[in-house]
Every structure is written in C-alpha cells, then in structure tokens.
Amino acid sequence: MSTLTAPRAEAVATSRSGARVRQHSPLGRALIVTALVVVALLWLAPLAWALITSLKPEAETTDVPLQVVPDAGFTGTAYGTVLGNDNLITWFVNSTLVAVVVTVLTVAVSALAAYGFSRCSFRGRGLLFALTVAGIMVPPQILVVPLYREVLAMGLADTYWGIILPQLAVPTMVFILKSFFDGIPRELEEAARVDGAGSFRVFWQVVLPLSRSILAAVAIFVFIGAWNNFLWPFIITSNPDLMTLPVGLVQVQSSFGVRYAQVMASALLAGLPLIIVFMLFQRQIIRGVATTGLGGR
C-alpha cells in the first residue's frame, strides 16, 4: 500500500534532520542558520507586532516612536471587547459550518466522479471528462456576476446553501483523484468483484480505503480554500448573521475606526483556529498541500 501513496509528499513530512547540514563547512553552517533565523524573524514579526498591539490599551497603540511595552502595561481589554461582541463568534461558526460542509461534499462528489471516470464506461464519458479538465482553466472569479444572478433566481441569496453550492464543483480535485485511482492496480477490485461486490461496494470497500492519504490531501486543500474564500461569500451575503470570518472582518475594519487594538485582536482570533489545527496536524497538512499542489504527484 505504501507504494500507492505519493512518495515525494510523504518525504516532506518525515525529513531527517542533520544529515545534509553536516556536509557544509562550519562557516557555511553558520550562514545557513543565520539566514534561517533572519527569514523566520521577518515572517513572524508581523504576527508578533499584531499580538503586541492587540494587548495594548487603545490610547497607546499609535504612540510614536514605537514602544513594545505600553506605559500602562499590557491588557486583555481588546480581546474582552471583541469576544463580548457576538459577531466574531457567529462568523466563526458560519465559517466552520461552510468550510466543513463544502469539504465533505466536494470530496464526496469529486471522489465519486473520479472513480466513474477512471473505472466505468458510459456514453459520453470521454466528452464529459474533457469538459471537466477544461473546467480547470475557469477562474471562479469570472463567474461571480452570472453566479450572483443565478443564485438570486434560485432564491438562495443570503443563505448557507447559496454560499456553499457554487463552491462544490472543483474539477482540479476530480482530475487529481482520477489520476490516483488510475494508478491503483485493478486486480484488487476484480478480486472483490469475483466475490460479487457491486460497483459502489467495490468503490466503498476497496478503493476508498486505499485512497485515504490522497482523500485527506484533497480534503485539507479544499478546506483551506473554503475557510479563506472571500469574494463569493462577500458578494452573496448581506446579512451580518450569515457572513463568514473573512467577510465579517472587513466590516470590522471600517466599523472600528482607529481602534487598532480591537482590530488586531479580531484579526488574530480569526486566524487562530487554523493555526492551532496546523500545529496539531502539521505533518498531514503539509503532505496534503504538497500532494495536491503538485497536482496529485
């Protein structure tokens, strides 16, 4: 089974440390470490400054010259205010709901289709698959105008389904999964078939268990995309109670005026959930993103 998982992506998550760095001279090693530290600092500084700002009293956020520790000491007031305002919680719940439903449905729909394209024969299969592959080229952004009119006509504007449904058709994922299924030796399925299993049972009991890693990869990729999607939810929601985090936060920006500590607190809180998930499942997420990003290789 291990031969079926993408070997390259697997390697990312399980790299052995120390082996190659020793091949460098001491000076080279020092340079490498310095460069890494500098880049990491550059990459973490924005988050650090946002965190510091969010912990300052509002009056001291705009102090010039910059001051790390505020005169009045750090305070959690901004977080209290932001969390006391139930909008952020609502948006978090909406984002979670939308992203989970989009992920589950997209993976289900894509996996079924990929299996159909990979293993079954039916009239128009070639044409449908060609049409699907062509869809990879369609940028979702160009569809917002007609999609808006369509979803409106369906009576789904300002509903969860209106946010979710247009995100479910992801031809790239069908393509990736089909490529993977193509690589599964058919003998395994045929054995099951000899035992009298129907197509769906073969898919469910043989193919899916062999595809856990690629399904996880696709799921992770879809989830990140749905969680961070801005344009479509921005266009289709006008009820603040239905907004997702990325859309709601933009409202926060204009409503809070110059209350920078609160803005930073909301921004960080909105980013936190996925960061925590990443800390817990770093290996799986990295593998998922690398596999899917490389087009299933």
Binding site: G116, R119, F122, E189, F230, S266, I286
Partner: protein, 316 residues
C-alpha cells in the same frame, strides 16, 4: 485484503467477466454514470451554466439597479476596447503578476534550500514560513494595513529608527502595488516553499552521497546538482504562481477599502469587473470585461499544459 473486506460470498460473477474481453477493465463497472452524476450536476449548474450565461450577458445591457435588460450586440466589447480603465487595470494585473512571481519563486526556493539542509528545528521553520498561508485574507490585510500605516506604522517606525526614510506604503501612487506584492509574498510564499521542499526531499540521498564522495562542497553541490534537478518543479511552481497572481483581487481590494489605492494605482482588472458590475450596476459590461480576462487565463493555462506535456515527454 480486498477479499477479506468483501466477505465470503462466493457467487460466480459472469456478468463482470464477460465484457472484460473488450477493454481490459474499463467496463468492469457498470452504472458509471451514477458515479459521475452528482459532480455533473453541480458542475453544470455552477460552472458550465454560469460560463455560458455570463458570456450571453456580455451581449446585453444588464442592470443591477433594476432597469430592463436590452440587447446591445457587440457594443460592450467595442466599449471595452476604448475603456482606458480596462487597459490600466489589466496593466496593473500583469505588472503585479511579474513582480510578485519573481520573489514568490525565488524566496520560496531559498527557504526550501535552507530548510532542506536539515538544520535542527524543522518543525519551527516549516511553521514560520507556512503558517501565514493558513490565515484568512482579511486577517492578513488587517495586520499589514496596520504595519504599513504612514505615521505610526511598524514598518516606518523601524525604518525611521534605523535612520532610513519612511515610505508611503498606502499613500504613494508609485508604491501601492509593491505593498500588495509584499503582503502577497508574506502570505502565500509558504505554499511554494512546501512544493519545493517536497521536490527536494524526493531527490534520493544517494545522489548527494555520490557528490560528497567527489568532494563537492555544499554550495557548489546546490548550484551544479540540486538546481538542475529542480527545473521541472520550478516550471510547475512558476506556472501555478502566474495563474494565481493573475487572479489578484482580495488583498488589493481589502487593503485599500475598495478604492483601488492612491490614484487607483493598485486596482487589478478583477476589481474593475467588480466595480463595473456591483458598484456601477452594469452587469452586462462587467461580464464582457471578465471574458477578456478569461481569455488571458486560457492562454496562460494552455501554455501550462503545453509545458507540462513537454516536461512529461522529456521525463519519459
């Protein structure tokens, strides 16, 4: 394994056997259309239909403000040719694509090479470089909008502290698009970094060992061996990045609150589509503009296919 999973039902399956002769196994599974159907439905409803519908709309004057729709033939396309805003925002989009793709590829490669040396703390490096990719765009832009403030922003504060001149990140027409690039690099470089890291780790250890026996030093080995081996990945990363950068909208829109930045200098073409359709209520014309953009994407995508084809052939 599969046998155990499917139990011990020993029913002969002539039905499955018979068509096997025609094509090796394609036809072993009947009812394939049912597998494809759910996808076909959502795909038809939410991709194929809007593509056609939008194209149709581009020949009409369609209003968001409730005015009756009227057929205008090619007028929208004729208008677009003379609409300086279309060409200006298209120019911004192309410029953004060029000046963002370069650092997004170079920095991510550098990061991957550095991390791949195996310095202790792999978890930490990967976290630092990749974590921003997981943040919602609004979080990213809110933070950077704050860092880039002219008078009390962190970046200008640091520049001032170092005795350097401060920069009008959000107010200077010549800088605004660069600010969007900086934010984009910080936010998304982690993705390319992972692709590179994954490619690097797929290079067999034996290759390096052989080189080490030849006495090649770390730096020379990188230049003479690793980089050539990464050629394919770089091609892929570049194409993916170009396609992603062309679709710039979210960051630029949010960073400048929809104004397009000082002098409109940071408005990409997708923002012009949005403004035309949803701010100026002209949905038909907005569709026409988005089809010009679509044409551009198709050209680049076909380039990608051609490239990966060629790569596939050389690899084979």
């Amino acid at each position: 394994m599969a046998t155990t999973a499917s139990g011990r039902t020993t029913v002969p399956a002539p039905r499955a056997r018979q068509p096997r002769r025609t094509t090796s196994s394609l036809t072993t599974n009947p009812g394939g259309f049912w597998f494809v159907l759910p996808f076909v439905l959502v795909y038809a409803a939410f991709t194929v239909f809007p593509v056609l519908y939008g194209f149709g709309m581009s020949f009409f004057n369609v209003s968001l403000a409730g005015a009756p729709t009227s057929f205008v033939g090619l007028d929208n396309y004729a208008e677009l040719l003379g609409d300086s805003q279309v060409w200006r925002t298209l120019g911004h989009t192309l410029l953004f694509t060029v000046i963002s793709t370069v650092p997004l590829v170079v920095v991510s490669l550098a990061m991957a090479l550095l991390v791949h040396t195996g310095v202790k703390g792999q978890w930490f490096w990967r976290f630092s470089f990749f974590a921003p990719y997981l943040l919602p765009v609004s979080t990213v832009v809110l933070i950077w909008n704050w860092l880039m403030q002219g008078d009390f922003g962190f970046i200008n504060g640091v520049l001032g502290g170092l005795g350097l001149p401060t920069v009008g990140w959000l107010s200077d027409e010549g800088v605004a698009l660069t600010s969007v690039v900086l934010i984009t690099v910080w936010w998304t470089v982690g993705f390319n970094f992972l692709l590179y890291l994954s490619a690097l780790q797929a290079i067999p250890e034996s290759v390096y060992e052989a080189a080490a026996l030849d006495g090649a030093g770390g730096w020379r080995r990188t230049v003479s061996m690793t980089l050539p081996l990464l050629k394919g990945t770089t091609g892929l990363v570049v194409v993916l990045q170009v396609l992603a950068s062309l679709k710039i909208f979210d960051q630029a829109y949010i960073l400048f609150g929809g104004s397009g930045g000082p002098g409109g200098a940071a408005a990409p073409i997708l923002q012009h589509v949005y403004d035309t359709g949803f701010v100026n209520y002209r949905l038909g014309y907005a569709s026409a503009i988005s089809y010009v953009f679509f044409a551009l994407i198709i050209v680049v995508s076909l380039g990608q296919f051609a490239l990966s084809r060629r790569r596939g052939r050389t690899a084979a």
